[in-house]
Symmetry: C2
Subunit: 361 residues, 2 copies
């Protein structure tokens, strides 16, 4: 069992707690021409961005969306409404610019990197825009034993770290594709929060791309078998290897590297939050860098958010993945920084303050 990350010894993820900076950010926000607190959660978001980037005038630069794709051996058990071939077909759709995340990234001018972390398909050599981080053509079937070997998992984590190191900017946006990966994410949720029995397990397991009631019942049964088949994988890293997937492990490495570099991490839905859960279990301060884009419609995501004490920005019933929810929330981060950087203060604009407080004049 993998107990240590070979390449993780240099991965310092510091506590960002900085009361002086927090106070400056709060003062700066309160002096803007608006009643204190009247921009609601946008104000807390601005302060968090300032804390992550270590500045009371935070600037978001060159945001990067990474879409990590891989296949899952557990799909052999019939846990998805869509055939596994959709993974590679959607990778081609990302590259061609026709998928939701492609369209939304174009709208917002966000760079999109698609990584083959373990898709069961041979893409044409030199497919433009596709990053080759393939560990193997799909994981093993976790209902029969570990999805990955410890070495495969370590390699995927290292790939995620290297991927982030190769990208510019100070914002990492998380996306993914992989038929069957709501099963992998649900397994990680169940193991990391101790919800492995029947009714508790059922609260972790959703309909994914659209299972009917019978399909959902079958998925629950298969996932219970996977938990039993990997009963010994109890540490976060062992659970990731046994129950996760190549894209989830790559994303976990990416989150750890981004946190180490003090980038803002914008988390999408159920799958990417599973990667964040593992990353935060390995390095708790990584949580400080994470902004949660939305509350997914996939059952189980609410439990993940609760576990991470996270309040997402949007609640639109999204359950597509790909990073689509992160893309939709992205302009709110830009707005939060613009409030800090570009709004006038009461003093600079010559606007009177409250009648029950001394005027700044």
């Amino acid at each position: 069992m993998l107990r240590h990350l070979p390449a993780m010894s240099d991965l310092a993820i510091a506590d960002l707690h900085d009361p002086a900076l927090s106070q400056r950010l709060q003062q700066c926000t309160d002096q803007k021409t608006k009643p204190p607190g009247s921009l609601g959660r946008l104000e807390a978001l601005a302060i968090q961005l300032g804390q992550i980037l270590g500045s009371d005038r935070p600037r978001l630069t060159a945001p990067q969306m990474i879409v990590c794709a891989a296949d899952h051996g557990i799909t052999a058990q019939g846990v998805s409404a869509f055939p596994a071939d959709v993974t590679w077909q959607m990778v081609q759709n990302f590259l061609a610019g026709g998928a939701a995340v492609s369209v939304l990234a174009r709208q917002h001018g966000v760079a999109l990197t698609v990584a083959d972390c373990g898709v069961r398909h041979d893409f044409a050599e030199g497919a433009p825009g596709l990053l080759r981080l393939k560990i193997a053509p799909g994981t093993a079937d976790s209902s029969l034993g570990p999805a990955m070997t410890a070495d495969q998992c370590a390699q995927a984590l290292a790939n995620g770290r290297a991927l982030v190191q190769s990208l510019p900017g100070n914002v990492l946006m998380l996306g993914e594709m992989g038929i069957g990966n709501t099963s992998a994410a649900a397994l990680l949720l169940a193991r990391l929060t101790g919800r492995e029995s029947g009714a508790a397990l059922a609260t972790c397991v959703g309909r994914g791309t659209g299972l009917d009631d019978a399909g959902l019942a079958r998925k629950c049964t298969v996932l219970a078998r996977a938990l039993a088949a990997n009963a010994e994988a109890q540490t976060p890293l062992a659970a990731l290897a046994a129950l996760g997937g190549f894209e989830i492990a790559t994303l976990t490495g990416a989150v750890l590297q981004a946190a180490h570099e003090r980038r803002v991490v914008l988390v999408d839905g159920f799958i990417t939050t599973a990667a964040v859960m593992v990353a935060c279990a390995l390095a708790p301060h990584a949580r400080q860098r994470c902004i949660f884009a939305h509350r997914s419609g996939e059952l189980g995501h609410a439990l993940m958010l609760e576990h991470l004490h996270a309040q997402p920005l949007l609640d639109l019933g999204l359950r597509l993945g790909e990073g689509s929810g992160a893309m939709l929330a992205w302009p709110l981060l830009v707005s939060a920084c613009a409030i800090l950087n570009d709004m006038a203060s009461f003093e600079s604009a010559g606007v009177s303050d409250r009648t029950d407080r001394p005027s700044p004049a």
Copy 2:
């Protein structure tokens, strides 16, 4: 009492109900490369935008934010935490580009028009960017009698119609400024939904820019007096004149004109929703054109949304007004149209459909 709008006889606001178009929009959405329904409320938003603009490929053009500003005589009763001078000071802040709505409009490239609908201040002649639609320097004190005469209200409505007629584009975004206008909006909510007694009235009345408990109690008492002083103003139009404000009446006219022209109306918070309530009471089909940007933190807004059967896009605890919430929601409208216009279909992208449905090949 004003019973008819003199200039409203040509104001046809048709029922947009078009089952054939709705079906085409639903089919178009379902054929995109994603599980059906997986983009959640973004899909319903796309379909509504298509219905408003009468197209299965809706395009949003030249969006216009109007910020209507005015003063309120009822501020003499001490209903706000900020002095009334803040209204004109904030108008200058809008024009100088330092207010929240200014910053957010710049972020999104949205045209911003600031209109003096009745501010108690003489702005310099030719202040660049300021539209002069001033009816009077502030309304009368509605706790003593009608805020506006019938003629003033009719003129403000006509001004709002003319304002929209003068602007290009097919999207109208609503913003406002006016110290005291949460009182006017709360009065309209109370009158139009029959919540005029103590406890029911209290559910309509919030802290505005930040009243403390004593201030809130005083505000409730003053608003009860205003309802009593205008007991005869029972029709929507009479209530608007007696209890509203110049900016709210101008916004009501703007909503009616935009609805007539079949523009998308993006509604902000408590004040602009009050204008929409009046517009929809006068012309119920106007409701079909309205998209509600957010659920305000101001007490009473939830009641307005319930009354209008509206589910807003964002819920971020905003209570600033100005149009700031509408600006924050705006990119979601752009995204909804991009999904319809730019995403690939299963067939065009060569992606397999669900295993339980025939493949489109």
